[in-house]
Subunit: 291 residues, 2 copies
């Protein structure tokens, strides 16, 4: 590990030939029955065991995981403790960890969030952030990340249908808000470009709009794209390929439910094996479209 998030992520993707990330979105109701039975009323315990097993199952296959903090936060303090424990466990298992927190605030409040999520031993290697409040809301995360070489992914173009009602808002020249946000992200990232050619400031760009992803790819040559929307949200591997450069670098595709709940569609084998298989299939599908 070089200690520069974008360099480390780029190298790890190459090493594993897998430009993909597994999202950890643990809903108690969707856990394997065997785990729910084992833990009874101890929901946090059940989620801990499930996430631990998922992390160990996918660690040999993918370079990164993306825990979604909302699914932990819903269990209040014990859930937040579990979130940071799982971040630490995944890092110890050799995974790069992207905390999907989508925080966004300003000044000393943004600094408190940045410290909470990027500065401790149990903190992830990068987090997602929301740029609606402008650069004031992003700079504290970039500054906090400098010491540890950590990264951020700024929401530029999200994969959900109604994202367009805000992000497609267009100026007199036809330039849309998400393009305007992309230009700001590109500028903010200029000072933290590593030897890979990528910045520690990346962008979230949904796979569900491949034409826009292609255009954003050229607008943000130094940004790694974190790409949601594959699988459950309907985007194909070919759609995802629009976020990569011709050399196969520059993006990482996330899949969450289609991997961690793969046992639903594959009930005849051990649930861990179903998850491993889904992670391998994910990696192979995206790699074949990209490399």
């Amino acid at each position: 590990m070089s200690g520069h998030f974008a360099d480390d992520l780029t190298a790890a993707i190459t090493d594993k030939h897998a430009p993909v990330c597994v999202g950890l979105d643990p809903s108690y109701d969707r856990l394997p029955v065997s785990i729910r039975e084992k833990f009874g009323d101890d929901r946090a315990g059940a989620i801990r065991e499930f996430c631990t097993e998922v992390i160990h199952a996918v660690a040999p296959i993918v370079p990164a995981v993306k825990p979604q903090i909302a699914y932990f936060e819903v269990h209040h303090a014990p859930g937040v403790e579990l979130y940071f424990d799982m971040v630490a466990l995944a890092r110890a298992a050799g995974l790069i960890v992207i905390g999907d927190i989508k925080r966004g605030d300003i000044g000393s409040t943004a600094r408190a969030y940045a410290r909470a999520h990027l500065s401790g031993e149990k903190c992830p290697d990068a987090v997602t952030v929301n740029g609606y409040l402008g650069a004031d809301g992003l700079e504290p995360f970039i500054e906090e990340g400098n010491a540890g070489g950590k990264g951020i992914f700024v929401l530029v173009r999200t994969s959900n249908p109604s994202g367009a009602t805000v992000q497609d808002f267009a100026d007199a020249s036809g330039r849309k808000l998400y393009q305007h946000m992309a230009a700001q992200v590109a500028a903010l990232g200029q000072d933290s470009v590593g030897s890979s050619g990528y910045s520690r400031v990346g962008a979230v760009v949904g796979a569900t709009y491949p034409d826009e992803a292609r255009e954003l790819r050229s607008m943000m040559p130094e940004q790694i794209f974190l790409v949601p929307g594959y699988g459950a949200q309907g985007a194909s591997a070919a759609d995802c390929a629009a976020s990569f450069k011709p050399d196969g670098t520059g993006a990482i595709v996330n899949a969450s439910r289609s991997v961690i709940y793969a046992f639903d569609k594959n009930p005849d084998i051990d649930w861990r094996q179903a998850i491993r298989q889904a992670a391998s299939d994910l990696a192979a599908d995206i790699a074949s479209a990209v490399f």
Copy 2:
């Protein structure tokens, strides 16, 4: 309490003749020396005592408090436990509680955040949310709030300087993003208007741009405005008055550091007394400009 957030807040503001809210942004380094000495290395304990005293000091004076979760989250799980404890304590003290969480995500993730922050016994009466992801990101909070009559405040126009670099982005007709967001918020709030004439869907509108606040006031007649920017950020009571209707309803002005750290500028009296005095001065200043 009627069980409708906007009605309850409007009534509480009238009862206390105080259209103001005290922000709980507890930074350990800024706590009174006496508390830091008493608790030694137990930072969470010090913050707990400080917040408890602040809540009891301001409860007779103001209708609402706004804990900023970032200052709790920076202490990870123990901080999050403290956040929810302080929310519950403030509600038990008769205060309306607005959780400043600025969460924003979509689908099942947004539902998890909404459940985490609006559905439990220790949850606040309303929370702030970020609308960059469109209505998909807001509706789960509105739905989760329906059962308990809870509210949300959507970020429309923030008080920080660089907010304009995103929120002033303008379309061909000169309409700006924050105006576009305001129209969406007004539409989303139509189905949850109470007997006060205000919706459980409110808006965050910074006091630092009073001309824009006046215009937003007419664009969002059913929204209560949560108004940051008074005091520490430079806006005057007259600036804040732009967010109110002529009858003095429709907004609540927040002040955080200028109240909870008032003892810095008033070291000759008990620190709790300094906070009470600052809360009274805040209420009187805004009330005189509004009523």
